[in-house]
């Protein structure tokens, strides 16, 4: 004779054990779905990391008119700094621009000799934005500032980065939804088997006046347990594969910045996968219970 929670847990365990094969199948299918979820999480975290690295390197260059005064320059700098989405502003004076140019052509000093003492380079402002998406707007703002003669930026690159990011997010979201749906069905099927094997017991429970909630309890818990098992399987494989990929990429394509799988990222992934696993499990239970509880 047991208490309600004792009853709940022992029934759940018994039923998972009794239907080992189908429980295992659903845990692994859920595991696969959640593995995809975990991977797509890691991929999107990484893309964000790569983007932010690239974004940090993406600059807008605003060239100032040739004979600009110092007070005008500082006024312009002030305006730029106060523009929304701007993260970093660097002033490059004529002299500095020349220095940079010289440094770039160190081996071909003769090219620069033709300039003589004259410095033809304009002063410029280099601007970095918070996000890639901000670039076109900031460019527009910069163009409006009097004293700015030209604005140059890598328009194509920023546009592509933004759209590739969006596409990857949509595709991985779609994949997760589809496989998640399959996982719900498979868990639902496993629960259905349990319900079928216990239909006799359920009919007696209903006969003696057990509430639907009470009857539902063990099945709901079974779904959750299967979901949690799936989460562990899925995030285990995702973490393992990711570590392997990072190692491979690190040795073959060392210039691609990749996020190392540290404790925080792992916890985030586990959290997302676990919560989703529990929800998938519950959805599976409810899905089959709604149709089969009316015995």
């Amino acid at each position: 004779m047991k208490s309600w929670s004792g009853y709940l847990f022992s029934e759940t365990w018994k039923s998972i054990w009794r239907n080992k094969a189908s429980s295992l199948l659903s845990a692994f299918t859920t595991g696969f779905a959640l593995f995809l979820l975990g991977m797509s999480f890691l991929v999107s975290v990484n893309l964000r990391f790569i983007f932010s690295t690239v974004e940090q390197q993406m600059e807008i260059q605003a060239y100032l008119k040739k004979d600009i005064s110092e007070s005008e320059t500082s006024k312009i700098l002030e305006i730029v700094k106060n523009t929304g989405g701007v993260r970093e502003v660097n002033y490059v004076s004529k002299e500095k621009a020349l220095e940079e140019l010289k440094a770039m052509f160190r081996d071909k000093a003769s090219v620069l000799d033709t300039l003589g003492d004259e410095n033809p380079l304009p002063a410029s402002i280099r601007v970095r934005t918070e996000k890639v998406e901000d670039i076109p707007r900031v460019v527009g703002e910069l163009k409006k500032i009097p004293g700015v003669v030209d604005v140059i930026y890598q328009e194509e690159v920023s546009r592509r980065l933004a759209s590739v990011g969006r596409a990857i997010q949509i595709v991985s979201f779609g994949g997760v939804v589809i496989v998640g749906f399959v996982a719900v069905m498979v868990i639902g099927n496993s629960i259905r088997l349990t319900i079928y094997s216990r239909r006799h017991e359920i009919s007696i429970m209903k006969l003696v006046g057990a509430t639907d909630g009470f009857i539902l309890g063990p099945f709901l818990l079974e779904g959750i347990v299967l979901g949690v098992l799936g989460s562990l399987v899925g995030s285990g494989f995702a973490a393992g594969l990711y570590v392997w990929i990072v190692q491979r990429v690190g040795s073959v394509l060392p210039f691609i910045p990749m996020l190392r799988l540290d404790f925080d990222v792992l916890c985030d992934m586990l959290g997302i996968v676990l919560v989703t696993g529990v929800m998938v499990g519950m959805a599976g239970s409810v899905f089959s219970l709604r149709r089969h509880l009316r015995i």
Partner: protein, 226 residues
């Protein structure tokens, strides 16, 4: 306590189980429902614990119209009604004690109360020494006693039995009916659908006879045949 008003039950187009049945059963009564197979006895029993709902008419139990009852109220109706079947309906993987306790456990009774009440009712049906046995180790009569213990463990106001001795030999049947009578003496209203002619004749209780879904006889201290 139980009131059927102009109750008809049709299963499909042409299967008419009950037709315009009117029946009043008062608290504390012991009623036999008799009649040939297919006369509608089981359907009548099923209507009383809301396993079925009538096609037309009203079934009123404890003052409530069962058809208007909400789905979530049904468990609480059933906690006041014990039901016994011909095929016992015990759980094979549980002992006698566990089978009886099951009815209390799944309705959320604290386990201290469960233990005491289960011991009482098992001893009442005379299975004290067999409380750790599994159903397959018991005779048919013993299994039916377990089922009765389970039906009575909650001290129900109504005990329904659908052919409780259908699978039992005459001697064992008598013992089963003695248990039902005992429950009735403690104040439980008992309604039994049965074929057991000799027992109905011997007990001299109220007899309601059904034929083709119609009540053809309702006598206070009746016998199986008229």
């Amino acid at each position: 306590m139980i009131s059927l008003r102009d109750v008809s039950k049709t299963y499909s187009e042409n299967v008419r189980a009950l037709f315009r049945v009117n029946l009043e059963i008062r608290k504390g009564e012991f009623v036999f429902i008799v009649g040939p197979s297919g006369a509608g006895k089981s359907t009548l029993i099923k209507l009383l614990y809301r396993e079925e709902t009538p096609t037309t008419g009203q079934v009123i139990v404890f003052g409530k119209d069962l058809q208007k009852m909400r789905r979530r109220e049904i468990p609480y109706l059933r906690r006041r009604i014990g039901v016994v079947f011909q095929d016992f309906r015990l759980l094979e993987d549980r002992t006698v004690e566990e089978n009886v306790a099951f009815a209390l456990e799944v309705t959320g009774t604290p386990w201290r109360d469960v233990k005491k009440r289960v011991a009482q009712v098992i001893s009442m049906v005379g299975l004290k020494d067999r409380k750790d046995a599994y159903p397959r180790e018991l005779s048919g009569g013993e299994q039916q006693r377990v089922a009765i213990a389970r039906a009575l463990v909650r001290n129900p106001d109504i005990l329904l039995a659908d052919e409780p001795s259908g699978n039992l030999d005459p001697h064992t049947s008598i013992e089963i009916f003695e248990l039902l009578e005992r429950a009735n003496m403690y104040g439980t209203t008992v309604v039994v659908a049965t074929h057991a002619q000799n027992i109905v004749d011997a007990l001299r209780k109220r007899v309601v006879e059904l034929r083709d879904g119609v009540i053809v006889r309702d006598v206070r201290r009746g016998a199986y045949g008229s």
